[in-house]
Amino acid sequence: MTDHEEKLPIIRLSHVHHVYGRRPALTDLTFEIFKNELVFICGPSGAGKTTLLRLLYRGARASRGEIVVDGIRLEDLPHARLPLLRRKLGIIFQDYKLIPGRSVYGNVALVLEASGHRRSLIPKKVHGVLRLVGMEHHADALPPVLSGGEQQRVAVARAVVGDPKIILADEPTGNLDEASAQAVMDLLRGAFIRGTTVIIATHDKVFIRRMGGRVLHLQQGRLAASELVAKLHDRTAL
């Protein structure tokens, strides 16, 4: 019996198709992702990585097939219940998607405010997460004055502050220099080590080798292969 068989799937896709107009973006995807897994979705540009992540956070509806995320069937999910799904997720975008008029603190705190956390508990939690990503000294800064790497670290802080079950990261290092990219990947690995399921869409094979995990290869919207990659210099992993 393997590890996967012992674990419960937190995400399940069954014969999922998605089309943009008449152009197929994803075709017949069927796979499962388990709790506390680190999964990379790999593939060239246009392979469907971003589309797949969008389906997982219901940024788009699958044209066909079934997606279940932590027990929620996404095709049946009414619009009013979307927040319930989104609060289980921490989403990181390549373009950060920070609110420019809100401070770093405000951007991170928004997640807790939106999910109805007690006001008195928010500062401690937000400062703790900002400390974790090394951005505590920029708490009052507005995002536009920060570098790309700093903004992405704020985005990571926003993604983890609500203790999500799953982190979805779409090309999180795509716009960053190597040092910043390494810092962001370390933060994501940290979240994985603390028990979060982390799914990263990337085509950066170097980072995949450094971090280790399961890799799902997409080719023209189809699942071409699934492999386990051991963490570099980590003989015990996988």
């Binding site: 956070y57 940024g59 009013a80 979307l82 927040p83 319930l84 989104r86 609060r87 997720l89 989403i91 998607k97 920070l98 609110i99 008029g101 809100r102 928004l110 997640v111 405010e113 939106a114 999910s115 109805g116 006001r119 926003r158 609500g162």
Partner: protein, 291 residues
């Protein structure tokens, strides 16, 4: 949570000061016009009521029944609502008419005979209100055989009342129109604010914010715009009313009635209606944008 929504609404108002000011001024104007119409109608009704209370019925006697008849006087005074009937002879009526028209002596000199009939001037009880009651009394009196005709100024009061009714209808239509206009202006403001914040709204959705969390500050803003517009509009109207009321009472109205401002209930209704217009504007706009 509510404090957060208020804070965000306040931030929006400050960030879009000009837009909010234009909206508030539009609501203010709508409130002033609508409230002025209500004020006019209310005081016009008071004036009509004052006129009605002073109504006297003139009952003109047939030529064959001329002369003061105690029996007829008693019959008239026995009619419910009548306080007193005073006989006015045709000679007395002519003298009175001559006294009122001092420069028309030649007109009266050429009269072959007195054309005026004997009459009873009938005073009504102060408790007798409403044209229906006065009509009934007049009809009862005119049914007496000795009475040829009754007159109680109904025609010209009807004409004035017609004008007041017209004002009321126009006022009601204006109220509806300005309510819709105020709601449309607020909807437009909200639309522009949401448009300027559409990226923020999208990010809020992605981090799990519910629609009510996203919408609440916009509703607060709409209600606030309605409230400020109403309070400012009613304030402006009160200042103008205070400045004009005393002068009007002494000149045009000749002390017939004391003009009154809107009651507390009316002020509250207008304020709530204005706030509702603000809320409605937001609702329409959000419904359109938050699909």
């Amino acid at each position: 949570m509510i404090a957060r929504h208020f804070k965000r609404a306040l931030e929006d108002i400050l960030a879009n000061r000009f837009l909010n000011a234009v909206t508030v001024v539009t609501i203010l104007l709508a409130v002033v016009i609508v409230s002025a119409a209500v004020l006019f109608f209310m005081n016009a009704r008071d004036l009509m009521s004052a006129w009605q209370q002073g109504t006297r019925i003139m009952a003109y006697l047939r030529p064959e029944a001329s002369g003061e008849s105690p029996a007829l006087k008693r019959s008239i005074e026995s009619v419910d609502g009548v306080q007193q009937a005073v006989f006015i002879s045709r000679d007395e009526a002519l003298r009175d008419l001559q006294a009122r028209m001092p420069h028309q002596d030649s007109l009266f000199d050429n009269l072959a005979e007195n054309p005026l009939p004997d009459a009873f001037e009938i005073q009504l009880r102060t408790s007798t209100e409403g044209w229906e009651n006065i009509d009934a009394i007049a009809a009862r009196i005119s049914s007496f055989g000795e009475i040829e005709d009754v007159e109680y100024g109904r025609q010209w009061v009807d004409a004035v009342q017609g004008v007041v009714e017209l004002f009321r209808t126009v006022g009601m239509a204006m109220m509806g129109l300005f309510f819709v206009a105020a709601a449309a202006i607020v909807a437009n403001t909200t639309r522009l604010v949401i448009y300027s914040r559409r990226e923020e709204v999208e990010i809020m959705r992605l981090v799990g914010a519910s629609e009510s969390f996203i919408n609440a500050p916009f509703y607060i803003e709409g209600l606030f715009q309605g409230w400020v517009g109403a309070v400012a509009g009613l304030g402006v109207l009160f200042v103008v009313f205070t400045a004009l009321a005393a002068r009007l009472e002494q000149s045009v109205l000749a002390g017939m009635i004391a003009l009154r401002f809107l009651s507390l209930e009316q002020l509250m209704v207008i304020t709530l209606a204005s706030m509702f217009a603000g809320w409605l504007g937001c609702y329409v706009s959000l419904k359109e944008f938050m699909k």
